[in-house]
Every structure is written in C-alpha cells, then in structure tokens.
C-alpha cells in the first residue's frame, strides 16, 4: 500500500499545503494550476453528488477510485478540505484524515499563533505532517 500525495484547501479554494511521497507520474503543469484544477473538480463532484443523490446524504462525497489509485476527500465543518491519493487497497482513510486533522493540523497550524490563514510555511508542521503520514499503516 502507498500514499501518493496530499492537498489541503481552505473553504475558498486556496491551497494551504501540498505534500508528495510516491508520485511517479507528474501532471506537467505547475503546482498552482494543478491545485486549481483539483479544487475545481472537487467542487463539481461535490455539487453533482449532492444533486444526484436519491436520498439526503449526511456525508456527501467521500472518495472515488480508478483502477490505479483512489482519491479520498474529507471536509471539516469549518470548510478545511483534505484530499489524499492512495493506492486502491487502502482502507479507513477517512478515519486517518480525521486523525491527521486533529493531531497535526489543529496542533501545529491552528494553534500556531503566527499562522494567519495563508498557505502554511511552518517547518514544524511540515515535519510533523511528514512523520504522521510515514507512520501510517497505509504508507508502508
């Protein structure tokens, strides 16, 4: 199993953080362009899923899978969006993202008095984030 990359967006679609581990194929466009495309697609999927759903769903869009990878989406009530690409065999990624949110994001970004809502520059956060991902069972 493996983790490919991770995007964190705020509620306005700004890319706050990007992390990459095992990504073999690059998109060939800049990170900024790629983030915009990614956010746009997620925005569309979310509204599509909500419109087309036969019943009122609580969670909305959770993930999609191709035969090569799976994209998992987790959105907090405050609108921070976590997007992680893994291989198709990974399980309970949602729980993992929730843990990541409370143990890494809240601790080292939200509680950092110098963070003002802009893309994260803290080295401590980047280090803790990398450690957390690498320690997960999915990463191995």
């Amino acid at each position: 199993m493996t983790i490919h990359n991770l995007y964190i967006f705020d509620k306005y679609g700004t890319l706050l953080h990007y992390g990459e581990w095992n990504r073999i194929k690059q998109s060939g466009i800049t990170k900024e362009e790629e983030a915009k495309l990614m956010y746009g697609m997620l925005f569309s999927i979310k509204s599509f899923v909500n419109k087309i759903s036969p019943t009122d769903s609580k969670d909305g869009f959770l993930y999609y899978k191709t035969n090569k990878y799976a994209l998992h989406y987790y959105e907090t009530p405050s609108g921070i969006r976590f997007v992680i690409n893994t291989d198709t065999a990974s399980t309970s990624v949602k729980e993992f993202l929730q843990q990541y949110y409370s143990k890494v994001w809240v601790e080292y970004v939200v509680k950092n008095p110098l963070w003002n809502g802009a893309p994260v520059t803290s080295d401590l956060f980047k280090q803790k984030s990398d450690e957390f991902i690498k320690q997960s069972v999915m990463f191995a």
Binding site: E107, Y108, K111, N112, P113, L114, S122, D123, L124, Q127
Partner: protein, 151 residues
C-alpha cells in the same frame, strides 16, 4: 484539555493585541503578566506553609507554580547562590506549536514576555524583588533568568 487550549489562544491574542502598533515594546505584555502573577500567587499559596528561604520559594515556582499553569515542571533549576537563578523549560508551552528549531526565532520574545512578568509578579508578592528576563536559542527550549534585586 480544552481549558488549556483556551488559555493558549487567549495568550496569543494578548500577544497580538499588545504588540500590534509597537513592535518592539513588550512592557505592556510584561506588566499584564506581572499583575496576573501577583494576584495568582494569593490563590496558589493558600495551603502552603511559609517558605524557608529564597531557594525554597524558587523551588515552589519550578514545581507547583509551573505545573498549575503550564502542566509540567521546570526541567532544570540552576543558581549561583548569590541571587541569580536560571530556570530552563525544554518544551515551553507557548513555543511548542511554533517551531522546533530556529524558524520564527525573531518572534520568540513576544511569546515569553508575559511569562517573565508572571514570574516577577509572583515573586514580588512573595517578598522577592527581582528582574526576570528570558532567553531562547532554539525553540521550544526557553531559559528564564531571575536576578534578585537586593537593596
């Protein structure tokens, strides 16, 4: 857990507010710490016998006082027995979420000024007139220098 978070967030707002227009002036923040410490000590020491001497008072600051505010003890206390004390905290609460190296080091003084005042105020109410300064080389380690003023 939540209570501690409230304290941390309130402290960072305090730092931002008091240093908003005067970047290098930490005296307001230090004074807020002083009056907090001065009052706090009344509450904290109500079940204590009187302290034997200065060192005994410092030990109280390092253990019970620090634990009640920062949920940990001071890691190292050193003194020259001539009125200078150095209190070292290896993972100081207000720096823990900031950095673990030299990034943001220029902002460190803002986050230790309140605590300097807190210690000075507490000691003042315990009858020790002092000057408290802090020193940060690599976060989240912080050293507080206490110099007792003898008159």
């Amino acid at each position: 857990m939540l209570v501690e978070t409230v304290f941390e967030l309130l402290h960072s707002e305090l730092v931002a507010y008091t240093t908003e227009n005067k970047e290098n002036d930490l005296s307001t923040l230090e004074y807020l710490g002083y009056s907090t410490g001065y009052r706090l000590i009344e509450r904290l020491t109500r079940e204590y016998p009187r302290f034997k001497d200065e060192l005994d008072t410092m030990k109280f600051i390092c253990t019970d006082f620090w634990t009640s505010i920062y949920k940990k003890q001071i890691d190292n206390l050193r003194t020259n027995h001539q009125g200078i004390y150095v209190l070292q905290d290896n993972s100081f609460r207000f720096l823990n979420n900031l950095s673990n190296g030299s990034q943001y080091l220029e902002y460190a003084p803002k986050f230790v000024a309140f605590t300097c005042g807190l210690v000075r105020g507490s000691l003042a109410n315990l009858g020790i007139n002092s000057t408290v300064t802090a020193e940060v080389h690599s976060m989240p380690t912080c050293k507080f220098h206490i110099q007792v003023n003898r008159t």
